[in-house]
């Protein structure tokens, strides 16, 4: 209850869209330049738990969902960020805020080729060592 209002109040016009699939399942989106500030608000100020992030390719480019959980109320907040660049997608890394995001950002980087600016350790996580650098397995071939 309080979390919802605080997010809306603190972010104000930065919120592009707000959708509640149910009272405890909330999706909202911000611009990709605001992602660092938004994640800091959710994680540091409001104390939400970072559950995971997921990236996918869309017709316009890419989108990343950052899932945050508020365990006391069982609420799940998904922050949606769109990256409208098909060739060289870039976004600010959130790993400098908390190390739990390091591996998932490395995975999104090697699978989809999204560059995380400011990531301290952006290197291969899961793919084989001889995997070619310019191929991203989860990108649609165009």
């Amino acid at each position: 209850m309080k979390i919802k209002e605080t997010i809306k109040e603190k972010l104000g016009k930065k919120i592009i869209s707000w959708e509640e699939k149910s009272s405890r399942r909330i999706y909202f989106s911000v611009d990709k330049s605001d992602v660092y500030e938004t994640v800091r608000l959710l994680f540091k100020d409001l104390g939400l738990r970072f559950s995971t992030a997921s990236g996918m390719q869309t017709p316009a480019g890419f989108e990343i969902l950052y899932h945050f959980s508020f365990d006391q109320a069982g609420e799940l907040y998904s922050l949606r960020v769109e990256i409208n660049d098909k060739e060289r997608p870039e976004i600010d890394a959130i790993t400098p805020l908390f190390p739990a995001a390091e591996w998932v950002e490395r995975e999104i980087w090697e699978m989809l080729g999204i560059n995380f600016k400011g990531h301290p350790n952006l290197k291969r996580l899961l793919l084989a060592d001889d995997w070619p650098d310019d191929k991203y397995p989860l990108r649609r071939s165009s």
Binding site: L127, A128, W131, P137
Partner: protein
């Protein structure tokens, strides 16, 4: 039948390798050693090192990172060594056939002696397969 092959048919010590499996086949393999099926009464035993093994039990779809490691494991096994492919992934790559991370099925990489199909195979199917394999090694029909 050489004495080495004969020794293989007595009490088979098995080393279990997972080469990118989803863990279901592995759970069914562990079922073999529970009191319900209890293959230890035939002398079949899981061992901790491949250097003690008579048979390799391989599950999973052979992903790119697992293949070189599996070849290394096979080189370390004392020969003659029986290779058993457990589950549809190890047989044919199953749903990972067109995956970016899986190049070729197990029998293109190692000489496979026994195929046990199923997703996952039942413990009964594995016992049946092992009995058939032992009979074949003994030269019986």
């Amino acid at each position: 039948m050489s004495s080495k092959i004969n020794a293989l048919t007595k009490s088979i010590w098995v080393f279990h390798v997972s080469a990118g499996s989803c863990n279901n086949c592995d759970i069914e393999i562990l079922d073999l050693f529970t009191p319900r099926h209890d293959v230890e009464r035939f002398g079949i035993q899981l061992v901790g090192s491949v250097r003690h093994a008579d048979a390799l039990l391989i599950t999973g779809a052979m992903n790119k990172k697992a293949v070189p490691r599996m070849k290394k494991i096979y080189e370390q096994a004392p020969k003659p060594c029986v290779v058993v492919a457990v589950g549809q992934c190890a047989l044919s790559r199953h749903m990972f056939r067109y995956s970016y991370n899986v190049d070729e099925p197990l029998d293109k990489i190692l000489p496979v002696d026994l195929y046990i199909p199923g997703c996952p195979p039942k413990p009964e199917a594995m016992i049946d397969g092992i009995v058939k394999l032992v009979n074949k090694l003994k030269g019986k029909k």
